[in-house]
């Protein structure tokens, strides 16, 4: 049954691995959020380039994240691009979620009424000013909850990094398990960590959304 002494024993080790998990989440999400915005903006500005982006997005969304991780880690070295496990894994997660985030941004852009673009033309604003000052501030606040959901989804998929031996939380739990033949405590603790962090993040996103809709709604 549950061994409290063992639990206390493995906590510091798991805590260190949790830092890796949080790092992977944070860096992965920054890549996803920024690259997603860039991809959606390209689709907004040029139909030709937009088509290429649309195909790439579809490609990424229609293949499993695990395969993409393997691809970056095991296949890219064949063409001379060697990435360490953490970099390859985080990059794959970032690229994967960038595809999803770009669709979220796109919905945000489409939600901005045509009249806003027309008023910007009538005031002779440059395309860049129109995008930065008029369209983006209206497109972003409504999509914050959807982006927040992807943050949580991305966070919950970081255990996939254990497949290429990144010692994040899940990998650490597996190592502890194989060394001690005790899986109950480490796996339960990892599950609890994800549960608590997910709930916390969801709460934060809700607070942020409330603030944004009061500010911009």
């Amino acid at each position: 049954m549950w061994d409290w002494a063992f639990t206390i024993d493995i906590l510091p080790v798991l805590a260190r691995a949790a830092v890796i998990t949080v790092q992977a989440t944070a860096i992965g999400f920054v890549i996803a959020a920024l690259l997603g915005l860039v991809l959606a903006s390209i689709r907004l500005s040029s139909p030709a380039a937009g088509l290429v982006v649309a195909i790439l997005v579809e490609l990424v969304r229609s293949t499993p994240l695990l395969i993409q991780i393997f691809f970056l880690f095991f296949v890219l070295p064949k063409v001379g691009i060697v990435l360490d496990a953490f970099t390859a894994g985080v990059l794959a997660i970032g690229l994967h979620y960038a595809a999803y985030c770009s669709e979220v941004y796109r919905a945000g852009f489409e939600n901005v009424p045509r009249g806003q673009w027309e008023a910007s033309i009538a005031l002779n604003l440059s395309p860049w000013t129109t995008f930065k000052d008029i369209i983006l501030p209206q497109a972003l606040p409504p999509v914050v909850p959807a982006l927040g959901n992807y943050l949580i989804a991305l966070f919950k998929e970081t255990p996939l990094l254990s497949a290429i031996a990144v010692v994040e939380l899940m990998q650490r739990a597996k190592i502890i398990g194989s060394e001690t033949f005790r899986y109950t405590e480490p796996v339960t603790l990892v599950g609890l960590f994800f549960l608590v962090m997910s709930l916390l993040s969801a709460g934060l996103v809700r607070v942020l959304d409330g603030w944004l809709s009061r500010r911009y709604g």
Partner: protein, 259 residues
């Protein structure tokens, strides 16, 4: 040599697929002239303004603004289609007020009025704010300058939109059914502002309107559009008092009965 008109539509056509919205339109608007455009819906009157504001492309003909072609530019002595820079330079002379206001909802009334002067004209923030405050005062909204559009009535929003357009110091102002989205009791305050800028500013104005009383009292000339053509035009006294064309008579009768 006669002075070039402020705006000239020269054989301008606009089609959507097989449907011809405007058919070989020729229309000159003199410097400082106030022209009202009336007509049944679908007659192409809003398109006349939207083409001049470059919100719609044209399928044929040439648009002239202040003596220069807007849709074309001269390159090595030949007229070629205008590039973005040329269009932006000409467009700077034109301001537009929309039926649905189209204020920027995330900016205050003042913010709406300083955005373009700062980013397009390169004006300093302080100067832009002072001028915007003057304009908001002129439209009777100095007390509302820190309000967001969502906190203003339709009439107030439309007056902010007028101030915002004027802040760019246009030579030509386009008013596209600017009172059509307003509750009846708010129409007067907006028309009052238009009257005032008509009197105080040396602006050329084109307005599409359903306010026949206002068109009669305010404009120098009224154009009646029907099926993509100017069916009849002339001074308000003629159009409203003694219309020559049967279509004009039918339209005015219908509007008067409805009103």
């Amino acid at each position: 040599m006669t002075e070039m008109p402020m705006v000239r539509y020269e054989n301008v056509s606009k089609r959507y697929g097989a449907f011809t919205v405007l058919d070989n339109l020729n229309l000159d608007v003199a410097r400082g002239e106030k022209v009202s455009i009336i007509g049944p819906s679908g007659s192409g009157k809003t398109t006349v303004l939207r083409m001049l504001m470059t919100l719609e492309s044209i399928n044929g003909g040439t648009l002239w603004v202040d003596g220069e072609p807007m849709t074309h530019m001269s390159k090595n002595g030949r007229l070629v289609p205008a590039d973005a820079r040329h269009i932006r330079r000409i467009r700077a002379k034109i301001g537009m007020v929309f039926q649905s206001f189209n204020l920027f909802p995330h900016m205050t009334a003042l913010g709406n009025c300083i955005e373009a002067p700062i980013t397009v004209l390169g004006m300093g923030r302080k100067e832009a704010e002072e001028r915007a405050a003057e304009l908001l005062d002129m439209v009777g909204l100095s007390a509302k300058k820190d309000h967001y559009p969502g906190q203003l009535s339709g009439g107030q929003q439309q007056r902010v939109a007028i101030a915002r357009a004027l802040a760019m110091r246009p030579k030509i102002m386009l008013f596209d059914e600017v009172t059509s989205a307003l509750d009846p009791e708010l129409v007067g305050e907006v028309l009052q502002v238009i009257r005032r800028i008509g009197a105080e500013h040396d602006l050329t104005m084109l307005m599409v309107t359903h306010q026949m009383g206002f068109a009669k009292e305010f404009s120098d000339r009224v154009c009646f559009f029907y099926q993509g053509k100017i069916c009849e035009q002339g001074p308000p006294a003629q159009i409203f008092g003694n219309p020559q064309n049967e279509r004009t008579r039918q339209f005015l009768n219908a509007v008067l009965e409805a009103g």
